[in-house]
């Protein structure tokens, strides 16, 4: 594994569109070639080297390339977008769309991220030590095929509209979540270890949601059906089991009606 270190030297006046900051783009390139990759500030295109100092060369393949971002990347968007392999470490904060549409590899952000991170994700790991914004692991707007796979782990809180149209994969939120979780969900798992504000599982057809704390405004479309003991994220606990959303359509699989499951910790 070869490491490329990007250090933000000049903060942008607007925001940097950094979709080229991926192991896939850096692979097989020398530091100077990486510095000449395009990034955009507003509508202006310029080389990456205008903003970052680049140290180290990329590995032969994406899987052998690690990128470390230093400096305040609060205004850098789309890091790791559509990446398929390799590793990215952001030492501080990052902006929107981090790990959007990612297919593989790992991203570790040590600070906070803004909205739309991990949207349309198909695989890989997105680890955020701080808080995440809105639309975490959600579907791109208009799209009915949301997160397909992979893992998103947020240590802090998440904003609203987490996991809209989720089809697969897992999202774990260590803190609280705002409104709208797994809206229109058709698969996958969302675990909220803190409290959820409300509208949890609206129009959900299939999939699982775990809430460890309280749901401030639970939806009337979910019905309590019993208690279960389950192992979730490595620990076993008892949960109240609700099914829903009863207002939605209910597919039948192998003779059994399919519902979404909402578990609240007892």
């Amino acid at each position: 594994m070869k490491t490329v270190t990007l250090t933000l030297a000049k903060s942008p006046e607007l925001y940097i569109e950094g979709q080229n900051i991926t192991p896939d783009q850096f692979a097989g390139k020398k530091a100077a070639e990486i510095a000449s990759l395009d990034v955009w500030e507003g509508k202006l295109k310029g080389p990456l080297g205008n903003y970052f100092t680049v140290e180290g060369d990329g590995g032969a393949t994406a899987g052998e390339t690690k990128i470390v971002l230093r400096g305040d990347c609060t205004r850098v968007k789309r890091i790791g977008q559509q990446m398929t392999a390799g590793e990215i470490v952001v030492e501080g904060n990052a902006d929107m769309y981090i790990g959007g549409w990612m297919k593989g590899g790992k991203i570790h952000v040590k600070g906070n991220v803004d909205s739309f991170c991990g949207i349309g994700m198909e695989g890989g790991e997105l680890i955020i030590d701080g808080d995440a914004g809105h639309h975490l692991g959600s579907s791109p707007r208009g799209e009915w095929r949301g997160m397909q796979g992979g893992l998103i782990r947020v240590a802090g809180n998440a904003g609203n509209d987490t996991a809209t149209f989720i089809n697969g994969g897992t999202i774990i939120i260590g803190g609280d979540a705002d409104i709208h979780i797994s809206t229109h969900g058709e698969g996958g798992t969302v675990i909220v270890k803190g409290d959820a504000k409300g509208r949890v599982g609206g129009q959900m057809v299939k999939g699982n949601i775990y809430v460890y704390g309280t749901i401030e405004n639970p939806l009337p479309g979910f019905k309590l059906v019993g208690e279960v003991e389950q192992e979730v994220d490595g620990e076993t606990a008892r949960f109240a089991h609700h099914i829903g959303d009863l207002g939605e359509r209910h597919p039948v699989s192998k003779g059994k009606t399919v519902y979404a499951n909402l578990y609240t910790r007892i």
Partner: protein, 568 residues
Amino acid sequence: MNELIVKNGFVFDPLQGIKGDRMDIGIKDGKFVETSALGNPKVIDAAGKTVMAGGVDIHSHVVGPKVNVGRLFRPEDKLFKSPLKRGNRMEMGFSVPSTFKTGYDYARMGYVFVNEAAMPPLHSPHVHEEIRDTPIIDNAAMPVFGNNWFTLEYLKNNEIENNAAYTAWLLRATRGFAIKVVNPGGTEAWGWGLNCESIHDPVPYFDITPAKIVTGLIETNEHLGLPHSVHLHCNNLGNPGNYTDTLDSLKLAEGYTAKNNFGREQVLHITHIQFDSYGGDSWRTFESKAEEIMDYVNAHDNITVDIGQVTLDETTTMTADGPFEHSLRGLNNLKWANTDVELETAAGVVPYVYSPNIRVCTIQWAVGLELALFAKDPMRTFISTDHPNAGPFFRYPRVIKWLMSREARDTTMKTFKWLERTIDATSIDGIDRELTLYEIAQMTRAGPAKALGISNTYGGLVPGMDANVAIYALNPEDMPSDPEMIEKAFSQCAYLIKDGVVAVQNGEVVAEPAKRTVWVDVKVPDNAQVQRDIYEHFLRHYSVGVENYKLFDEHVHNPRAIEVDATQ
């Protein structure tokens, strides 16, 4: 003096019966001329290439409110598919491309005329604004009549002359081109949550049957002598077993002959007939009835059809057939947009994924190709995808490839998950026919132009006509062994000359000659009754005043009015 000569190409012009002869084509000031009339023309070398007239599309949803609804509610249709600025303007989208991409892509395929398939009269200003923004290609738009309150009332009372006067008024008010009929009566019934599933189902309140609407409109059309015929989207579209309803609709044309001065011979055009050629009594027993349908079409000269070929893409369905879109939404559980247009029509939009893994989709694919391959007269059977309903228009080259190559069909069929069941439910595997370039020219330019009544201007290479030429890098004497090359050649024409200007070269747009709006201006005798009916309906029922309803001249971009005198 703008002079061009296209030299040494293999020329295919069905309007003149030219079948691949090596000829020169002369162009002067935007019109075809005899080569002897040229002074010192610029030479375009077409040696070893196929030369045809610019393409004519008889049915495509490219402009107007429902197309725009598709654009608005499918942002994902643009995501990662809009990266390039190739022409003068940004190009965006896939199944519902932006107006600019629409114009450029048609030009790249060598098309010059596209007939917008359904214009809600109330929203005609929007249609014309988008026509203005669709570069290069000439457009016409057909207002929908089959569920219009005026039409229903006049035809119920057998008032053909009054209906004709109203039709002429509406064509002028909307700068429309022809009489479009979508699910006659059924879309009006949708206002009651109902549908007209056969041509004998009466429309609620109006108490008129779809059969009577269609025959009344055929009589109206021939009374006026319009360039195009009635253009019908049948009742019960898209459902298993609907071929009997389609045959009933086709039979409505029996006994009628075309009366017009535009060379048109049919009285009824059935559009995207692929969606109307299904047997079986459920999705489980779904099968092709293309042969039965084409047997009838082949035997009746007063009917034309376009196929509406399924291209196996993810696309966006949109039609004025409101109840159909509602039932489609129930099938795939995707998002659905629906609207009612006052006294006139309705519309729905639903995304749809035609997957090679789904048996019904692959049977639909086979049905479309069967229709074209069973056709005895390619001058009456046209290539379309009912863009974007069965697939995007820029798949026409792929449809041509399938029609011209058994090998290409077999290659596609090998990707089907339910190949055996598709073969059992259709006759596609038993058809070896491969269409010729001449037949393709009939199905994509000469035939549609004749059926639209514009073959004096478009669809041929006759001196005096608009100088629209498409040159494809295909040598008819040495056709490529790889069918993919056929698709490539028709996707990126070597040259498109539009009105004597080279617009496309090697598949890239190099110039944007002025585009036109083609409409039909009919003169009818003064009709006080109809004037009063229009006044009354606008006073009582419409949400707009009649003077705001009619298009202003400023709305109509570079108009070309086709004059029809029906006062005699």
